[in-house]
């Protein structure tokens, strides 16, 4: 238990101690809110869909959690490179604990980032319509964070160097984001896109956030949470398994 706690604490310390990184992490969400939110707002309103900012904000929060969580998982590769990973791998503790401590730490940081972006959205004029669903909002965010962090860990455990990173960025992370319903409604999409978005776990995450914040949902909250929970469980097992296979 102590082991999980101290590794969790380590992730938080890392986050707090790199203010530059914290500031940088606001860059992307800010661009989405200003560039897309304000830029596409009039068109969205003309199409009769109401405020685009209201629609977009949960998506931006979801994406923040996605990137933050996945990167902290992939961050494993830095620990491998700078050597700290070895220290945890020769210690007399099960690797599963190490993996859980790391994942919970990364997920916590991702949630904090998501909350900060939520506040940023408020500054830009986003207004949640329901406050009753706050616990569900947190639960959804936690599940997205765990899914992404475990997924990142599985990738990080398999990568030998950072060279494959742009590949993962362009062919995994960006598609997850663009094909998730974070930016557009899932109703009335072309068939192919419909299929893709409905197998993308992030779709359910963003949908869950939207349901809990503005009461709009495509799949329904039980589906959102159910799918996220199941994917989280599978990825945790897969991530832990990948982590246990790391050889130095």
């Amino acid at each position: 238990m102590n082991v999980i706690y101290i590794l969790w604490l380590r992730s938080l310390k890392h986050w707090v101690r790199s203010p530059a990184q914290i500031v940088a992490s606001f860059g992307q969400p800010l661009l989405y809110l200003v560039g897309l939110g304000y830029g596409l707002g009039p068109t969205f309103a003309k199409a009769g869909n109401g405020s685009y900012l209201q629609f977009l904000a949960p998506g931006v929060i979801g994406v923040t959690v996605l990137f933050s969580g996945a990167f902290s998982g992939i961050g494993l590769i830095w620990d491998r490179q700078f050597g700290f990973l070895k220290e945890t791998l020769v210690a007399p503790v099960p690797r599963l604990w190490v993996m859980i401590g790391r994942t919970l730490g990364g997920a916590t940081v991702a949630m904090i980032q998501g909350l900060l972006v939520f506040i940023l959205c408020l500054v830009f004029g986003f207004r949640p319509t329901t406050l009753l669903a706050v616990p569900l909002f947190f639960l959804t965010m936690a599940l997205i964070a765990i899914v992404c962090c475990a997924f990142g860990t599985a990738i990080g455990a398999r990568m030998q160097s950072m060279q494959a990173f742009p590949l993962i960025m362009n062919f995994v992370m960006m598609p997850l984001f663009f094909l998730s319903g974070a930016l557009y409604p899932l109703q009335g999409l072309p068939k192919a896109l419909q299929v893709i978005t409905s197998v993308n776990p992030l779709s359910y995450g963003v949908d869950g956030l939207r349901a809990t914040l503005i009461g709009q949902s495509h799949f329904g909250i039980p589906w959102d949470l159910g799918v996220l929970g199941a994917v989280a469980a599978v990825l945790l097992v897969f991530g832990a398994w990948s982590f246990s296979k790391i050889e130095l």
Binding site: Q81, F84, Q160
Partner: protein, 263 residues
């Protein structure tokens, strides 16, 4: 304390370690010497549960690392060839984290951390982040950390690589002192023959995966009829240069050095 018999490790067709056997007695300072790529690190990895042997047996304090992984792990401390500290954490936090990973009770953890940091002259710097430390200071912290959980064996894989003579000298003084006061068995590898000659009670020379000579420094010199350990070493292993190809890990390390050790 360490018993190795007919140990073999293959990577595909390549035999990195070929049927080696040796014993290290409790409390001994044992040096494992060999040119680059001779199989030193592979052997250390097998002794420290990081790699499974292809065949042969290892006993660490009477236990088989393959069967009693955690028990074996809690019995040794290790200082790797390259740094394994967390640069974003302070010296104190690195020690504390290590103590938790090795299940050292809180009170003991604090006492021993204080005692070891003072011994290794790092106490004043305990609240500084590791990334601000020099190479020598990092190394000292890693060795102090290796002693924290009162291991029975300390593995040192080229601990003095890249250190100035002052740091090297000081480092060995501390290691020798702890070897005597805590009766820790020390298993070390190094490329500096003068160090091995000064510190080690017994030496095994490994080349191309096989042990070519074993004995005290004096015995090795006598065997080869040379007057320094360096000459004995060259006589035993020849003077051909060994080239190791760089893998992606080495390239990354190089990149990491270029960008400054952030973590």
């Amino acid at each position: 304390m360490i018993q190795v018999q007919n140990l073999v490790r293959k990577f595909g067709d390549f035999q990195a370690v070929k049927d080696i056997s040796f014993d290290v007695k409790p409390g001994e300072l044992f040096a494992f010497l060999g040119p680059n790529g001779a199989g030193k690190t592979t052997t250390i990895k097998m002794l420290t549960t990081l790699l499974h042997p292809t065949s042969g047996s290892i006993l660490i304090d009477g236990l088989d690392p393959a069967k009693h992984q955690h028990e074996v792990r809690s019995r040794f401390g290790i200082v790797f060839q390259d740094s394994s500290v967390d640069g974003e954490l302070t010296a104190w936090e690195n020690m504390d984290l290590h103590g938790v990973l090795y299940h050292v009770p809180r009170k003991v953890r604090r006492e021993r951390t204080e005692q070891l940091l003072k011994l290794f002259e790092l106490w004043e710097k305990k609240d500084q982040r590791m990334k601000t430390f020099s190479g020598g200071m990092r190394r000292r912290l890693e060795i102090a950390r290796g002693f924290l959980h009162t291991p029975k064996i300390l593995f040192l894989d080229e601990p003095t690589l890249g250190l100035d003579p002052q740091s090297r000298n000081q480092l060995w003084t501390h290691v020798k002192a702890l070897n005597e006061s805590e009766k820790v068995t020390v298993f070390l590898t190094t490329h500096y023959m003068d160090e091995a000659e000064r510190v080690a009670q017994r030496i095994a020379v490994i080349d191309h995966g096989a042990i070519v000579a074993q004995g005290s420094p004096a015995e090795l010199k006598q065997q080869t009829q040379t007057d320094t350990l360096e000459a004995a070493f060259l006589k035993l292993t020849g003077s051909a240069i060994r080239d190791e190809s760089a893998n992606s890990m080495d390239q990354m390390r190089q990149m990491a050095r270029m960008w400054g050790n952030r973590r």
